[in-house]
Amino acid sequence: MDPGVADLSRLQFALTALYHFLFVPLTLGLSFMLVIMESVYVMTGRAAWRQVTRFWGKIFGINFVLGVATGLTMEFQFGTNWSYFSHYVGDIFGAPLAIEGLMAFFLEATFVGLMFFGWDRLSRLGHLFVTFMVALGTNLSALWILIANGWMQNPVGSDFNPETMRMEVSDFGAVLFNPVAQAKFVHTVSAGYVMAAVLVLGVSAFWLLKGRWTAVARRSMTVAAAFGLAGSLSVVVLGDESGYALTDNQKMKLAAIEAAWHTEAAPAGLTLFGMPDSVAQTTRYSVQIPWVLGMIATRSLDGTVTGMSELVLQAQERIASGQVAYQAVERLKADPKDTAARAAFEQHKRDLGYALLLKRYVADPAQATPEIVKRAAWDTVPNVPLMFWSFRIMALIGFLMIALFAGAFVIASLRRHDQYRPFLWAAVAAIPLPWIAAELGWVVAELGRQPWAIEGVLPTFLASSSLSRAALWTTIAGFTLIYGALAVIEVRLILATIKHGPDEDEAQAPAPVGAPIPAQPLAA
């Protein structure tokens, strides 16, 4: 196997996932904001709210199609680029993806057509129902994909089967109610709500500053302020750091985020800033707040946050245990009825994945020297400075968002929407922030998972397909080209739509006077 292919596959996956994740969170949030706006329209019957809904619906549509288009790549990329991953965990990982299609994608995709084409064919309440179904569908899809992703972070409810050489599900309920998945779902959709609220708030602020379409802008700002305040509180308070204390691997991620090289006496202090140094394994110039990390991570004053050095020692032990499991699997391959091998496997199967880490250095993990075992154990430490800084910037943006929406909420409650111009400029300037935070959140979650594709089960470098580097470079170049062009087109269209404002566009094809009304059935 060519290790360069795994690296290139990671590059392609990161590019396509980060790109996909520019559009999806906005869809998650904006769909529910449309439900709120349209509900007010249905309840009050005021045309201004219809205009608000239809304008943000247009923005939603432009963004939605790119989420769909780039999602196609994601659905098939496990098979195209991560063939061994697909074989190794398809029995568990495939199920949430299939359920996502059946339960969520059909819902959002079928109803989104009616949402755009059904204004004249549905009753007001009927159309609101359709919009709600779109919002429900998009958010359900986030639930299922995060159940899949949560399992990669914390692979519960499954066992390795030597007869089929793969992981198989043993408890589907555990996969479904995986605490890591639940935390991730709440955190991710909340981030989407914040993203949508920031966009709506920023654009409304821009219009207020320019004194254009102020009726629509004030209404939009009010919805964004309330929705964004709830979302930003949720995204920070229900951040998924709470899940990091669960397993060894999640502990490693937490230790890397906090640059905790060694276990501290409880309760550990939170490192606010500092310069993590991976070579010297220390954090220079650190500014610490005592007690806070221990309280966040363990929800107690006496729980300890395990440091990286200690976690590496544990990894060494698990590698040794995994070597036994690996040898047992090899013997079972030769003779499935070998009862001694079966017993050894059952005892050590939990650590099989750790032995696979050795395959980076030796073909047969059983032959690894203690030096190699030690090196492989240190491989379980992710990129510490990257984790440390990504997390801090993301968290800082989270707190800024709370401040922004608290301000907007007060201003909107006092009905002084257009009276604080510096605040409005700040709201415009804040538009890119949630995108930065969301992308960094992906980095923390997925680069923090390295070196594992499935934590503790399958290392990333073993998970890729048997492809050539030339094929990888072809598709990376192709995707970059297509995605780049579409990004430029999308941003231009959104800016043009914002500039054009919420006035209904009859200009593209004016109806001739006295044109016959098309025959159409009445809405059911």
């Binding site: 063939s83 599900v169 094929a471």
Partner: protein
């Protein structure tokens, strides 16, 4: 009651249902997009054609996405081996399909004729390329793919991209295009107003349908001559999913063996021929409903024929018969198949119900006047 053997059979049938569902729904979107630049010449005509599928194509496309997810969940070996093996072909399909959502949505955002013409051709590519590659892929499944599995069940693919294109697989690709163009033309016959667009669609549809009939017959003759696969020795239909435990061999004409053993399977190719013929009659007599029913039945019959010919194989290996993937050795575990069946039984009827409702809301022909009058149309 639902033992492992039966679950595998059901999931094999559901794989067929998915492919047929995709061909029948998104199939006419692909066909319509392929026809777009030819049947519609002015902007008003093109908007009419685009808006026949505008409100519903997105839901149709989910059959494709669900296909990916369901193969992953129920046939992980097939998902792992086929998509990595057909790597660049899959990239072509994805790149073409990515153009569709944006094409439909962005085309109408600017009145500039150049802008619109570019998106029209993007939609054309988004229709033609997937239709062609899917057919080529089915052709490659029939002629076997050059992969082998090692002791860890890791798949290595030993073919090149151009190796995917042989006379037989190109014929399959062409037939897939013809079949879906016919289906798209039948759709336009139902959904557009009487006039030049519909007349052109019928003309193209008649040609495509005739070609599809002809190619299906030639393909059948070629399959009779080319190598197929069969399992040697005892089959354990409830055994663990490990392809290396099966012994298979390559035999000329083996793909027709099932029809001798189970003559009722001949219903599938018969449905293919009759459906296509019915579509041609419908198009000739200007009866859109008949044409669409015919092209639907024909596509279902043709896809079912591939499944019946290959059963129990799903993806045979042309270089290492030992590695071939079959219904009995490439599925998920019994537990996963059972859970997924339960989910499907609950949710598929719900999906079909609201899809039918959506089509009912959008029922009726799309007219040029309606498109011009409403700001909601693309």
């Amino acid at each position: 009651m639902f033992d492992y053997e039966l679950l595998r059979l059901i999931w094999w049938a559901l794989l067929g249902v998915l492919l047929i569902g995709f061909a029948l729904t998104d199939g006419f979107d692909l066909g319509t997009a392929t026809l777009l630049p030819f049947v519609a010449r002015t902007d008003a005509e093109r908007r009419m054609v685009i808006n026949t599928v505008g409100p519903t194509w997105e839901g149709n496309q989910v059959w494709f996405i669900l296909g990916g997810g369901a193969i992953f969940a129920a046939w992980p070996f097939v998902y792992a081996v086929s998509f990595s093996g057909f790597y660049l072909a899959m990239f072509l399909v994805l790149a073409a399909l990515i153009l569709r959502p944006v094409g439909f949505k962005y085309r109408s955002k600017k009145p500039d004729p150049k802008w619109r013409s570019r998106w029209d051709w993007a939609l054309f590519v988004g229709g033609l390329v997937p239709a062609l590659v899917f057919g080529v892929a089915v052709g490659n499944a029939l002629s076997g793919a050059p992969f082998r599995l090692d002791g860890d069940l890791r798949a290595t693919y030993e073919g090149a991209f151009l190796g995917l294109f042989t006379p037989f697989t190109l014929l399959a690709g062409l037939m897939s295009v013809a079949m879906l163009v016919l289906h798209g033309a039948a759709w336009l016959a139902i959904k557009t107003e009487h006039g030049p667009v519909q007349a052109r669609a019928r003309a193209y549809g008649f040609g495509a349908g005739t070609l599809a009939l002809f190619l299906f017959a030639i393909g059948g003759l070629m399959v009779a001559e080319m190598p197929g696969w069969r399992i040697v020795g005892v089959i354990d239909p409830a055994g663990p999913s490990n392809p290396l435990r099966t012994t298979t061999e390559m035999v000329s004409g083996a793909w027709l063996g099932n029809y001798q053993a189970h003559p009722w399977m001949l219903l599938a190719p018969a449905l293919g021929f009759l459906g296509m013929a019915m579509a041609l009659v419908g198009i000739y007599r200007e009866r859109g409903g008949l044409a669409f029913t015919g092209s639907s039945l024909g596509a279902a019959g043709i896809i079912a024929s591939v499944g019946c010919s290959m059963f129990p194989f799903i993806l045979p290996s042309s270089i290492d018969a030992h590695s071939s993937l079959t219904v009995w050795n490439a599925s998920s575990s019994e537990r996963t198949l059972r859970i997924m069946l339960l989910v499907t039984v609950v949710f598929l009827p719900i999906v079909l119900a609201y899809t039918a409702w959506a089509y009912r809301i959008m029922f009726g022909r799309v007219t040029a006047d309606a498109v011009a009058a409403s700001p909601d149309f693309y």
